[in-house]
Symmetry: C2
Subunit: 366 residues, 2 copies
């Protein structure tokens, strides 16, 4: 076969075009916008490409078209289960599309985020997914100046850069506390670790609910900047008990902490929920099979990632969503650990997936 090849031995578009008997540019169009070709040429190019095993050279395409087909994703952690669910959604949505994901880890540092953002933007990504709404002023300016669609994920708030998908951590925490009030609890502790902005907002929600009920005391709050873990949950709970031995419930900023609290209760032979109720956050899988089963606030992490990437890709392709801000809501999943009735599948308290959400206090439950 005297077909001329590139040094690297790879098939080029020109060879496909030659075999199909069309010009290179027509072959090029086939890969970008097949509808623009007549059916005859379309099938010819298609079979030529298949026969030769043609794979487009992305670098050449990016150079010629002045844009890449890369979606940049900035998340604060790779360890956290929460983000692996979100990521899975993002990857699932990107699969089958022509976009590839470029992931970077900010390690919960907004300065690091700013640095990575600058790096990403320099490569002209097709779109960007960033975590949260607490960027530096500089980052914010770069995002606003970026000429690609952007989705902020994990939470919602005012002034989206572009699109936004998440839920209100504040409202979710309030709903969790409302549920505990509803079950007759009054002296409710808060246990939190890492204290990133979203955890902070959960704390704010807890605090406001407690204040509304005239029950807030600073001593009920135990937090640390240390990364979260099950073991840490036990340790923080131990601190809490030392300060306030007579608490009747604990709201944990995440499920790992809740599991740690549960184990610590077992270690201390504290009956759950009879002596102390436990509520977690995120509703990881194990919450439903712990003994007792653990109440948690369910968040739609996979869906969040998947929808974010889908929205982004649609926007890149020019189909902007009619709703740029999506509230995915949450749901308080009541289980044994907080049920005074000791029933397994109690009613659920939902966060309305709507714009104006002042959920929570007992009366507004469904």
């Amino acid at each position: 076969m005297g077909r001329k090849r590139t040094k690297s031995g790879k098939i080029r578009l020109a060879e496909v075009a030659e075999l199909a008997g069309v010009s290179p540019i027509t072959a090029s169009r086939f890969f970008r916008n097949p509808e623009a070709l007549s059916v005859a040429k379309r099938t010819r190019v298609e079979s030529a490409a298949k026969e030769l095993g043609y794979v487009p050279n992305l670098a050449a395409r990016a150079l010629a078209s002045q844009r890449t087909e890369v979606i940049g994703v900035l998340i604060p952690s790779l360890t956290n289960n929460v983000f692996s669910d979100v990521l899975r959604g993002i990857y699932d949505a990107s699969e089958g599309s022509r976009y590839s994901i470029q992931l970077s880890n900010t390690r919960y540092s907004i300065l690091q985020e700013e640095r990575l953002l600058r790096l990403f933007l320099a490569q002209k990504p097709a779109g960007l997914i960033v975590t949260g709404i607490d960027q530096t002023t500089e980052s914010r300016a770069m995002l606003e100046a970026a000429d690609c669609p952007i989705v902020q994920i994990m939470e919602i708030g005012p002034n989206p850069v572009d699109m936004m998908i998440g839920f209100s951590h504040y409202d979710a925490a309030r709903a969790a506390i409302a549920h505990l009030f509803d079950q007759g609890h009054r002296k409710i502790g808060f246990v939190g670790a890492r204290m990133d902005p979203r955890v902070q907002r959960r704390l704010d929600g807890y605090q406001s609910a407690m204040k509304d009920a005239g029950l807030f005391e600073q001593r009920l709050v135990v937090t640390t900047a240390t990364p979260t873990s099950v073991t840490l949950g036990g340790a923080l709970f131990t601190d809490l008990l030392a300060r306030e031995p007579d608490i009747d419930a604990v709201f944990c900023a995440n499920d790992d902490l809740a599991l740690g609290v549960l184990f610590e209760c077992r270690r201390r032979e504290i009956a759950v929920p009879e002596q102390i109720a436990i509520v977690g956050f995120n509703d990881l899988e194990f919450m439903a099979s712990a003994v007792p089963t653990l109440t948690s606030v369910r968040t739609n992490r996979y869906e969040m990632g998947k929808t974010a990437a889908t929205m982004l890709i649609e926007a890149i392709d020019g189909r902007r969503p009619e709703q740029p801000v999506l509230d995915l809501g949450f749901k308080v999943i009541e289980r044994q650990s907080s049920s005074s009735r000791r029933s397994d599948n109690g009613p659920a308290v939902s966060g309305a997936a709507a714009a104006n959400k002042m959920i929570a206090l007992p009366s507004s439950r469904d």
Copy 2:
């Protein structure tokens, strides 16, 4: 400023060269191999680049140089904690290097893996990290023909494609069973989910250890292809109990299953370890704080990812490791759930990080 700019408004290498008063090619060299320049020109180019805020165009570089600075990573799951640890190691090691990570999820399908491999290879990655040693014949051929360094991770075996880092799941399972024998257990069940090749090898290890002791029975093994979860652990254990009510220990193929078994024991009021001992696999963080604390086989996942990426980058840069196959070993962390002495921090059984490893049976413990 009459400097000519690209349409996109971005600074090009030519502008940097002009400002520095050198030719573009000299400026180019500055970014790839600064030592080749005279000190005078080096500093001139450096300050010009900084002044203009120059960022190289990766697409153009890739096109011109016929290679990319992308490391492809193929892993079977994004959900599994095990892989998020490995990934974190990979990302940590790649940070600061000039290589970026391109991640793809094979979803435990070797056909999918083959497809993704073809896609990756077409883009001429600088290096590749693939999971496991069970590729399709086709994949294997592609890997061997690839002209970039490759690291296989998660396990070790004969005939590495190139480099390899992991440990023997077979030996690790044997060591876990040896530990249970050592504690006086005889009727040991096996609980496994998903049954990917590595879980299969753990089962093989279990089976061989049991056979060696003349204790193997097929009824002791409960497995499913379903993805793993804590809840599933409870369900599989329930099945196992139905078949063999008088087992005295359970070896779980991973820690989630072990936690599920623990919860199920609690639900059925089976005393752990008095009635049934539990051993998990991976030693996730929560194992140490469960009640009772759970014995597990510790594996160095983060280190595995980090070392894999480091070795790969070194190899790309031409410094091949003297040891292409690295056995990271494992360690049986004995905790309350399998300790007849009910002691918390019992002795640990280590897997030698050596080539020839026939660990395990009670006598060879340290």
